[in-house]
Structure formats: structure tokens, C-alpha cells
Subunit: 382 residues, 2 copies
């Protein structure tokens, strides 16, 4: 017998409370009942986004939301700065190039943070920049970029700041209004504790100005259409009804725990994962100045086959962790702790890692990882 | 946030596969559809009971099944030997006395096994003994009594052997036919991985003879009525429909894992629990010659309040373990690993125990318990 443990940075585990409401008989979306649920969801999302801006919903994955920012806010040949220090930064590069924007790329090694000063320099050199794209929490590497600092830089320019917070929202602080983040996006299968299929985007006043000037064609992902419908508590196209009903329940859980505590819990889980992994003698991938709370990547130790490690975790112990992506495939592994996670999820993953690494010939003190994590949990209650 | 971990010897966790079939719309029990499910369940139960005897089902708890053995097989003043080395042995004493049987009590300290030779002696002294009652796996103490040996002794007498295997079935070997066990009973919320509410009883040819001679009144728990209905693939009274449908799924899981592997898994989980607990410097409650696979009880260490330990496990970590019962309340704790349990359930419980014991002032090497259990799991695959 084997139970399944989903320890990836997305999809993430879905709480039974959410699964149960999603299992209710489907209701029609053009009804007062659904409109009332939708209105509540939007209110609660604003609480999580820490914003008074509009928050729009799309039946799509996170990539759909990323694309929506490009096609709603820009026109061909618009000059934009796109930062990238990982796979999802690269995706913004591809997206902006696909729509023929004039892209200034700021690319970094994947184990480095985006340097806000580089953005400042480029903005000085290019007064016609219309947008800056940043990935807050890089799912591919666990690196956290300082969008607060970047917000301070971008706010006094003509450019809008577009933040991919797909694995950030609900795991790290994302103070949309206070930090001047014009567009922030997330996906359902992350900190919002839902199955995949739903994306949400916040749009600031400054961003709405950009939307007005944008000339790229759009229909399904149109911010104007979505906003106009939301004013009547509905959606322009068929919404993902059961996911929105699930989201309503998940947001109630976040409200009940209180957002501050949710983020604190994530930071403690991340701290325990890091302590455990380091106690086992492994090296963390992300730099000390940019370690997020959503996922902890570490280097596979010398002599161990990283792909075999990830495979053994699943096949032998039922624990799904993520491997490295692109050029990091087989070289790092990534432990997710984003959304419906608590202490024993981390301890389970660390115990599984210990048993697998031991079997794969890595020499270390068996139990050192779990013990270090237990210490973190005893010293940091949630 | 806290997740809930049910680590008691009953009720035990229910697999999602079983929960899902139980959530299907209810069907009527007087239908070919239900009859076919019932027939399959009885076949699969015979596989788990390792018997060709009749296996009967009752919508009741395990105690109902215990009572059924008394009222179906005996008459007032019948002489019976009732062994007891725990709370559930005591229950057989109460039950047989309630129905005015002539009870020879063989009582033992709760940390001792029932001595088969004592039964042999009593049977020699009392040739008119009609039944011998034994608890195979004492839920209150984790002690395992040797029903195989007792079966060898009782089989050549006029007496029938009644075995409470409520927490034994599916966790330890219970070879009903090979060991000459005339009545064996279990409950749904144990090794069968279901919610409470269903009991099953196997009845041998020799036991059916006793049923014929029994003069105690019975209606709901009548073995004759149950058998007669089962011959037509139905039940005399309304069955617990959704539990039986759930049981059908649970038994499929057991068939798929193969009974031998199910029992092996339980023995490895028990070994890991014992190793972990002993590595933390705690003393096991059950004697080495009688340690079952269903539940591991241990003495609360000196200076620690046992009730506070159990309470802290639940309140702080969401882990429900059992305390001691009756005179052992506050003195021992019991970790269940019966039914839908695997490695990380044990590791979670041990990690929780370590953190709680540490906080309650007990001095030991933090991590020693989980490390010892990891070693057991690495050396014993399932």
C-alpha cells in the first residue's frame, strides 16, 4: 500500500472542504445564486491580493493570465522591460515577443535575483518604456524577486508594473496597492488550494489607462468585457462554476486563518524545509537574499542521479516532488509547500528524501533532516 | 492550519476510494444490484477470514457481534471459560454474565498474555464446558493472544472457541479454518477500513450445532435468520447499504494488495512504531511474546502527564492517538496502525510524539524515534 503525497509547487493539494463543495450538483451561472457566490469570491480575492483594484477571473491556467496582461495593456512595438531569472520569466519574454512588443530583456542566471537597479537604469535610458514584467516567485527555482523595491522604481514612470505572482500569492507578501503593483496574476492550483483551471488578475487605475490605449486584438481575455460583466456580478463567458464555488470555500478558509497567519505558516514551512535539507548536507539552490516560501529547490548531491531520486520518491514512497526544469533537469529537485500544507507534510517529504538518498548511496546522518525540521516547528508555532 | 490525523485503533482512516463509493446515491436493498454486491462482499470476507465457514453481516458495532455469539450459541447456566487480559476480555465476562451463563473466569494482568495451559487445565477439570471466549488482539493494550494454540486445545473438546478478532482481522494472521476458530468476529471500523456500523461473524459447523441447541431468545442478531437470508443473497432486516457498498470497495483493495501483504505491511508498521518508541527511551506496554500489529501502547514516561500528552497531540498537531483505558488512563498511550495506514502515518505520529514529549519536559534525543522507524522501513519494503 502507498498513499499519494503531492509535494509540488502546483498543482497543490486541495482541502477536503473544497473537494466537498465542488462535488455538489452543478448550478447554472446565470442565476442570482451564482452571482452572489461570484461577488463574494471577488471581495475575498481583493483581501488576498491586498487591493482595492479590480480583480478579474478567467477560466484558464496561469499562462492565460500572463498572456492577458500582454494583450490588454500593450500595442505592437511598445517598448517593455522583461526580467527573467527562470522558466516563467522566459515565458514573459516569449509572450511579449509573440505579440511583437519591443522587448528589453534583463536576463539573470537562474540562481540570482532580479536586480532592481538594472530596471532603474533601463527606465532612465528609455523614457518610452510602457511596461515592466517581473516574476515575483519563480516556480522553477524558488527564487523570490523583490517586487516591493521594483514597485518603488516603476511607480514614478509612465510604465506599468506587471507581476506574475502565480506561486507567490498567499505564500509570500504581495501588497498590491501598497507596493504599486499594477497587474498581479495568480492561478487556482497554487496558494488558493484549488484544482487547476482558474486564473485571477488585479488591474490598477494606471493599468486601466494602458488598457484604453492598447491596440492588440482580444476577445476571451478582454479586461473590459470581464470588468463590465463583473459590475453585474456575472462573467462574459461561461465561468468554471465548480472551481469558483470551490474558490469561495478556499477563500473562507484563508479568511478564517487570517492572511497574515497564512503567510507566516508558509514562511515557517519554508524555513523547516530549508533547515531539514541543509541539515542533510545538501545545498539550497536559491540565494539567501531571494528565497521564497512556495517551493524549496536544492542541488542533488554529487554521485546521485537527480531523475532517479525524483522517480524513487514517487514509485517507492508515493511522494511527488518536482525535478529541475530545462537546463536544471536532473540537477536540482524542488519541494513544494504552497497552499494546503502543514508541518507533517514537510516531515513526510524530508523522511522520504532521507530514505531515498540513503538508498541511492548518499552518505549523511539519517534523521538529521527531520530532526532539524522538528526543531523549527517547536520554535515557531502556527 | 492543522490537518487531522486519525491514529487510533478504531475508528481508523477510510481510504478515499471507499469514501467515494459511499457517496454514490443510495440504492434499494431489495434489488438484484444490491444482492450481487452482497454476494461479492461475503465471498471476499471469507477470503479475509481465511474460511469456508458462513460469514454473517450485522448492522451493528463490534459489541453487537460479541453479544450475538453469546445469545446464538448458549443457554442460561451453560458453563463457559472466559479469558480476559484487557477491557474487551472484560466485556465478554459482562456479556456472558448478563445472559446468566455459568462463567469460569481466567483473568490476567493487562500486560500479560492469556496462558493456553490454563484453558487446557480448566477444560480437563470441567468436561461440560460449552464455550471458550478469547480476545485475539486486545485493543486496550495491544496484547496478542495465541488463538492458534488455544484452537489446538479446544478443537478436541465439546466446547466451541469464540474469538474476538475485532482489531485482529486484516492486521494479524487469523486462520479461521486451519486454527479451528468456531466463531470469529470483526467490526467495520478496523482492519476493514470502513466507518463504524457494520460487524461480521464467521460460524463453523461445530458452532452451528451449538446454535441448534441454544435456548436464549434472539431476533435481530439471529444467526439462523441471517444465514437463511444470505442463501438468497439478502438480509433479514435493512442492511447498512452504503457501508456494505464501501466494504465491497475496501475488500477489492485488500484482494489487490493480497492478504499476505496486508498482514506483512501491518507487521512492518508495528515494528517501526515499536522501534521508534523504544529509541525515544520509552517502554512498550505489551510483553514481547504478545505484541500485535494493530496498536502499539507504551508507558508514558515518568514526570509526563499522559492525559496532557494525548491532548497536546490533538490540540497542537491534529494527531489523535488513544490514551489508556480504565486503570491505565493517563499511564499509557496507544498508537493505532490498523487498516489504511502506511509508513508516513507512523513517521507523522512519531514526529508529533517527539515534539510533544520534548515540550512536556521529557529528555531524550529529538529525532531518535523517526530515525529508528526510517531504518525499519528501509530494511523492510512493502
Amino acid at each position: 500500500m502507498r498513499k499519494e503525497y503531492l509535494m509540488t509547487p502546483g498543482p497543490t493539494p486541495v482541502p477536503p472542504e473544497v473537494l466537498l463543495v465542488q462535488a455538489k450538483p452543478i448550478i447554472h451561472h446565470r442565476t442570482p445564486e451564482f452571482s452572489s457566490i461570484l461577488a463574494g469570491v471577488i471581495d475575498d480575492l481583493k483581501y488576498v491580493f491586498q487591493t482595492k483594484n479590480d480583480v478579474l477571473l478567467f477560466a484558464s491556467s496561469g499562462t492565460g493570465a500572463m498572456e492577458s496582461a500582454v494583450i490588454n495593456c500593450f500595442s505592437p512595438n511598445d517598448k517593455v522591460i522583461v526580467t527573467s531569472n527562470g522558466k516563467f520569466g522566459d515565458r514573459f519574454v516569449k509572450l511579449t515577443e509573440t505579440y511583437s512588443l519591443n522587448v528589453i530583456k534583463l536576463e539573470y542566471d537562474w540562481d540570482k535575483v532580479v536586480n532592481p537597479d538594472d530596471i532603474k537604469d533601463q527606465l532612465k535610458k528609455n523614457s518610452d518604456v510602457k511596461g515592466v514584467f517581473v516574476t515575483q516567485s519563480e516556480t522553477s527555482t524558488g527564487v523570490l524577486n523583490d517586487v516591493q523595491k521594483i514597485g518603488q522604481i516603476v511607480k514614478d514612470t509612465e510604465a506599468i508594473l506587471i507581476v506574475d505572482s502565480i506561486t507567490g500569492l498567499g505564500a509570500v507578501e504581495t501588497k498590491t496597492d501598497e507596493w504599486h503593483l499594477d497587474i498581479v496574476m495568480s492561478g487556482s492550483q497554487k496558494g488558493l488550494m484549488l484544482p487547476p483551471g482558474l486564473a485571477c488578475v488585479s488591474v490598477s487605475e494606471k493599468a486601466w489607462e494602458a488598457v484604453k490605449n492598447s491596440k492588440l486584438p482580444r476577445f476571451y481575455f478582454s479586461y473590459e468585457k470581464a470588468k463590465k460583466s463583473l459590475e453585474k456580478n456575472t462573467t462574459p463567458f461561461t465561468p468554471a462554476v465548480s472551481l469558483i464555488i470551490g474558490l469561495s470555500e478556499a477563500l473562507k478558509m484563508i479568511r478564517k486563518e487570517v492572511l497574515e497567519n497564512v503567510i507566516r505558516r508558509h514562511s515557517i514551512l519554508a524555513m523547516a524545509a530549508r533547515s531539514g535539507i541543509e541539515a542533510m548536507g545538501l545545498k539550497l539552490f536559491a540565494p539567501p537574499e531571494g528565497r521564497g516560501n512556495a517551493v524549496t529547490p536544492a542541488w542533488v548531491p554529487d554521485g546521485v542521479d537527480g531523475k532517479a531520486l525524483v522517480k524513487m520518491m514517487t514509485n517507492k514512497y508515493g511522494i511527488t516532488i518536482a525535478g529541475g526544469q530545462d537546463h536544471l533537469a536532473g540537477k536540482i529537485f524542488r519541494v513544494g509547500h504552497l497552499g494546503y500544507f502543514e508541518r507533517f507534510d514537510i516531515l513526510t517529504t524530508l523522511a522520504g528524501l532521507e530514505m531515498c538518498l540513503c538508498e541511492l548511496g548518499y552518505r549523511f546522518d539519517l534523521g538529521s533532516g527531520t530532526t532539524a525540521a522538528e526543531k523549527v516547528f517547536m520554535e515557531n508555532q502556527f
